[in-house]
């Protein structure tokens, strides 16, 4: 529009601000602040970790801003390529892994480490949404079947790595698109029943021993409180002993004295619960629920079917993070490697999540240049 000086900073900033959702941004900032405070305690006041975390935050903010500039049409067009790229890399990772390095989740390009399964958290819902975007909804059986394959292919590749947590998140992301596309309730029920039947079979034949152990531990954590039940045993003690008011910031005995394993990553929720208590949990859950609600709201405001399906899926996947993590740490779900979204330490997951929120914000926009 205004091309006189080649680049107009003020109009660029205007466009940037108009493209982001201020309500969501403010809530995210609140949650990230709370998360940083918790991480400071959980890391044992480790300044090096906090510096890294700051870098992660800046990186994630930039990625989010960029993502918020992408229109749904653009994403729709790119979906297939990103997806295809993701599948190829996943296969490459598996081959690299089978060449004698054991479990492999990373692909290294020089000093850059890249976790391809992380990309699939966005690529799979995009692909399925893109597939449904030019179909009339609700979808036919054949369409659901094809969508199902699009989801299952990467999921199985990730399970093979093996990374159950990511597989679960990727699978959920794909499944939620199919759900929003309008899969008939009857089929949904049938699928879930089939799943329920498959679970014991998967447990027996499809799981590694350590994964089976995790499930067994979940079913009876106290049986082996020093072995594989140790995590859950200690995390429930941490949360339970936090009480209503919590032990206070930096005062969590369980985390301070190293009883909580993985306390700055997957089990950070236990630190939070111990130090801030039930009142803290209420605030935390309120923020999360608000974010999920805002995500779903933004999704309904989506510009087209693709935008809505993708937005709905991303919002619910965020919920899955929260549910699986808090459920696991509080001992009502089995241990699956899923971080507490936006709070657990780890750059990759933070960037992916913020990218998803960026996409969510951009979805209601029409393609730039038109109208």
């Amino acid at each position: 529009m205004n091309n006189k000086n080649g680049f107009d900073l003020s109009s660029f900033l205007m466009r940037l601000i108009s493209s982001i959702d201020l309500v969501l941004i403010v809530t995210l900032i609140l949650l990230l602040s709370l998360g940083s405070i918790t991480l400071f305690s959980a890391s044992g006041e480790n300044m090096k970790m906090m510096n890294n975390h700051t870098i992660h935050l800046i990186l994630a903010a930039i990625v989010m801003l960029i993502a918020s500039q992408l229109s749904s049409e653009m994403l729709n067009r790119w979906s297939i390529w990103i997806y295809a790229f993701g599948i190829i890399v996943l296969v490459l990772v598996l081959i690299q892994g089978s060449m004698g390095k054991g479990a492999q989740r990373w692909l290294e390009f020089g000093s850059l480490r890249f976790q391809p399964s992380e990309v699939m958290k966005l690529a799979v819902p995009m692909m399925v949404a893109s597939y449904f975007s030019n179909k009339s909804l609700p979808p036919s059986f054949k369409e659901v079947f094809i969508a199902g394959i699009l989801v299952l292919l990467p999921v199985l590749l990730i399970v093979k790595q093996p990374d159950l947590g990511t597989a679960l998140l990727v699978g959920s992301a794909g499944f939620f698109v199919i759900y929003f596309a309008g899969i008939p309730w009857k089929w949904l029920a049938a699928t879930l029943t089939a799943g329920a039947v498959a679970v014991p079979l998967i447990f027996k034949y499809g799981m590694h021993e350590y994964q089976q152990q995790r499930v067994l531990t979940f079913l009876n954590p106290e049986a082996d409180r020093l072995g594989s039940g140790y995590h859950i045993y200690q995390s429930t003690i941490a949360i339970g002993s936090g009480g209503v008011h919590g032990k206070g910031w930096l005062n969590g005995d369980q985390s301070r004295l190293d009883f909580l394993p993985e306390r700055h990553t997957d089990f950070i929720f236990a630190v939070f619960g111990e130090e801030f208590g039930l009142l803290g949990n209420m605030i935390l859950f309120s923020l999360y629920i608000f974010i999920i609600w805002r995500g779903l709201y933004l999704a309904t405001k989506g510009h087209d079917t693709f935008a809505r399906l993708l937005g709905g899926s991303l919002s619910l996947t965020f919920f899955i993070y929260l549910f699986v993590n808090t459920g696991m740490v509080s001992g009502i779900l089995p241990v699956v490697g899923v971080p507490l979204p936006l709070i657990s330490y780890g750059g990759t997951s933070l960037v992916t999540l913020m990218a998803a929120f960026g996409l969510l914000m951009g979805l209601r926009r029409q393609k730039r240049g038109y109208s």
């Binding site: 009480g243 005995d253 208590g277 808090t326």
Partner: protein, 647 residues
């Protein structure tokens, strides 16, 4: 084609479909998160206390601080049981890397033998990995210095202080003191485990066992915060232990040592009681043993030697030995006879050398074959006429006699403050029926009149009965605990004597009649122990006893030279002094030593002299203690040296 299908209408319906699904999804999200939140409420409100407890269990460790065990003194403040501070070199298996190499280098540094190493390794295997095991005990200052200089080479090894019970006088008064030993499984069942968490030793016998609670004190503890790896972080709270009370025994060590010395050629026992208050002044049982052997676990060889010794040194004869009391009970029998009216001070019995139950030909013989002729109570006592007392018991009948003698404490525990006292036996007809399912024969009664037959008594019972006699029926429970002291800075608290119901008599003069007989035993011209009474600077009363161990057939006579030592008569003596104002009553027995007048009475005389003529009161306590220790060390310096090396 697909694009063509997309009409305006389907766009709207798709939007509506999405919105409907979003609502359902939102509802499910809330439901799922509600489930998690309910779980959080459950954890943080309902189970808050449970998890707080678990959390504390996680990071708070109570480390017990054992109290210092109370010391034991005699009545004059001479130390009988002490706590010896020693430095030990110890290590926990978990803290030491490459144990074998470290041990080899330690061997070059310190005088540690291969045996020590093997013992240490064996203990390491048995004990938990976190428990410190002692490698070298009793480290000298030089050894400590050498180790400290090289300490950096031996991470995990450390020198620590230990308190060990030590009995400086070794075998003196060992039976009554008893000893401490390592807490074993049987002890664990009885003790409050919390109190003993940091304690390794417990009183096993004697005073150490009897007053375990007082001596032990109260354990303290510190609460320490540890991290998940068990590393201590900081101290949260501390409660200092309360040291055990010091105990002062009523024992007069000088008298005790004298008694042991005088008895050392025999097996036997001596008990001396202050009749005014029941304080036990001496309680010897010979042979004795060295309680120090037991403190850290006695070796099999040592234990077997003590256990299999035919003289049974571990057995406290003073309270556990049931002996036929023989003639020593005649004064008490006499009083019972007077009191019941079957005898009178003036009435005489004709002693013709034996006694026969009317209508029975069996002869109960007197020790004096020729007989004592017409004999009164006074002479019956000082000449110990058996016939008089056969007659007395026979007239009273066993049950009346037994009941009267019970009043003196025969057949009953005296209640002395020591474990494992025996009650011995004052028989009755019911007892025999129960025990042997047999009738009581009049002949059984006759024998009890001279302290034989089924009648047995312990030395403490004899001493107690003698004290009661000296008191003219006033009974005071014998006891060893004289005073206690909570702390060195506080005055001792004296133990009050426990008075028991007195023996009532129909005429008060009966006491004098009996006591006159006893005085005549030692001071009278015809007294059985007149030689022992000669030259005494005070007047005392006594009674000899010669108890038959072996039954002599009707037509035979006792001939010591033809009998095995084990079957020789026991020599007994009871006495109290001064007669006018008794301050000591004693009973003693020398097993298989022969006659009471020949063996027991002279010993008793020496003991009375020791106690009553003592000049020791002029010495200060410290000097006395030092003198005793010196005497002890002079006696066997070799043995002492060996002991300290072994420890």
């Amino acid at each position: 084609m697909a694009i063509k299908n997309k009409t305006e209408k389907s766009e709207r319906s798709e939007y509506r479909l999405f919105r409907a699904r979003a609502y359902v999804a939102a509802a499910l999200v809330l439901l799922a998160l509600l489930a998690v939140f309910i779980r959080l409420i459950n954890l943080q409100i309902q189970q808050y206390e449970h998890y707080t407890e678990l959390s504390k269990e996680n990071y708070l460790k109570r480390i017990p601080i054992p109290p210092v065990r109370g010391l034991i003194y005699d009545r004059n403040g001479v130390l009988l049981a002490d706590n010896h501070i020693e430095y030990v070199l110890e290590a926990k298996e978990d803290d030491v890397k490459d144990m074998s190499a470290k041990l080899t280098s330690l061997m070059q540094l310190l005088p540690i033998t291969k045996q020590d190493i093997n013992k240490f390794k064996q203990k390491l295997r048995v004990n938990s990995r976190f428990q410190a095991v002692v490698l070298r005990k009793n480290m000298t200052e030089k050894e400590i210095a050498i180790f400290s200089a090289n300490r950096f080479r031996f991470p995990g090894f450390k020198v620590s202080v230990r308190m060990e019970r030590i009995y400086p006088l070794e075998s003196v008064a060992s039976h009554l003191l008893g000893y401490v030993g390592r807490i074993d499984k049987r002890d664990l069942k009885k003790i409050d485990k919390k109190e003993y968490k940091g304690t390794t030793h417990i009183g096993k016998t004697g005073i150490e066992k009897q007053y375990e609670t007082r001596l032990h004190g109260k354990a303290g503890f510190e609460v320490i915060e540890v991290d998940a790896h068990g590393k201590p972080q900081r101290k949260q709270s501390e409660q200092a232990p309360i040291a055990g009370e010091d105990i002062f025994l009523s024992i007069d060590l000088e008298l005790q040592i004298k008694a042991e010395e005088l008895l050392k050629d025999h097996n036997g026992a001596a008990v001396a009681i202050d009749p005014r208050n029941g304080e036990v002044l001496a309680m010897a049982s010979m042979p004795s043993f060295d309680p120090n052997l037991f403190v850290n676990g006695i070796s099999y060889a040592n234990y077997n030697a003590l256990r299999d010794n035919p003289d049974r040194p571990l057995y406290n004869r003073a309270i556990q030995g049931s002996y036929p009391p023989g003639s020593t009970i005649k004064p008490m029998a006499a009083l019972s006879g007077l009191n019941s009216g079957v005898m009178s001070p003036t009435k005489t019995v004709y002693g013709k050398g034996y006694f026969q139950i009317p209508g029975n030909r069996h002869k109960f013989r007197c020790w004096k074959k020729a007989g004592h002729g017409h004999i009164s109570l006074n002479r019956a006592i000082y000449q110990s006429c058996d016939v008089y007392f056969y007659d007395l018991a026979f007239r009273m009948g066993i049950n009346r006699y037994s009941k009267a003698m019970n009043k003196f404490g025969f057949g009953k525990k005296t209640g002395i403050d020591l474990p494992h006292e025996r009650s011995a036996l004052m028989p009755t007809s019911q007892w025999k029926r129960k025990r042997y399912d047999k009738f009581w024969y009049p002949g059984d009664t006759v024998n009890t009149g001279i302290g034989q037959g089924y009648f047995t008594a312990t030395p403490i019972q004899l001493a107690f009965a003698t004290a009661t006699l000296a008191n003219r029926g006033r009974k005071v429970k014998p006891h060893l605990l004289w005073a206690t002291r909570v702390s060195r800075n506080l005055p001792e608290k004296l133990v009050k004597p426990v008075k028991l119901p007195s023996i009532g008599v129909t005429k008060l003069r009966y006491w004098d009649d009996v006591i006159r007989g006893m005085v005549n035993v030692v001071h009278g011209a015809g007294g059985t122990a007149r030689r022992s009474g000669a030259g005494a600077k005070y007047r005392f009363a006594g009674k000899t006893g010669t108890a038959q161990v072996f039954g002599i057939a009707q037509n035979k006579t006792y001939n010591a030279s033809k009998l095995k030592k084990k079957l020789h008569d026991h020599a007994l003596f009871v006495a109290f002094a001064p007669v006018e104002n008794p301050r000591i009553a004693l009973a003693l027995i020398a097993e298989n030593a022969g006659g009471g007048s020949k063996v027991a009475a002279p010993i008793a005389r020496q003991l009375l002299d020791t106690y009553l003529l003592s000049k020791e009161e002029k010495l200060t306590l410290k000097e006395k203690q030092q003198a005793l220790l010196d005497a002890k060390n002079k006696k066997n310096p070799q043995k002492n040296k060996k002991k300290s090396e072994a420890r």
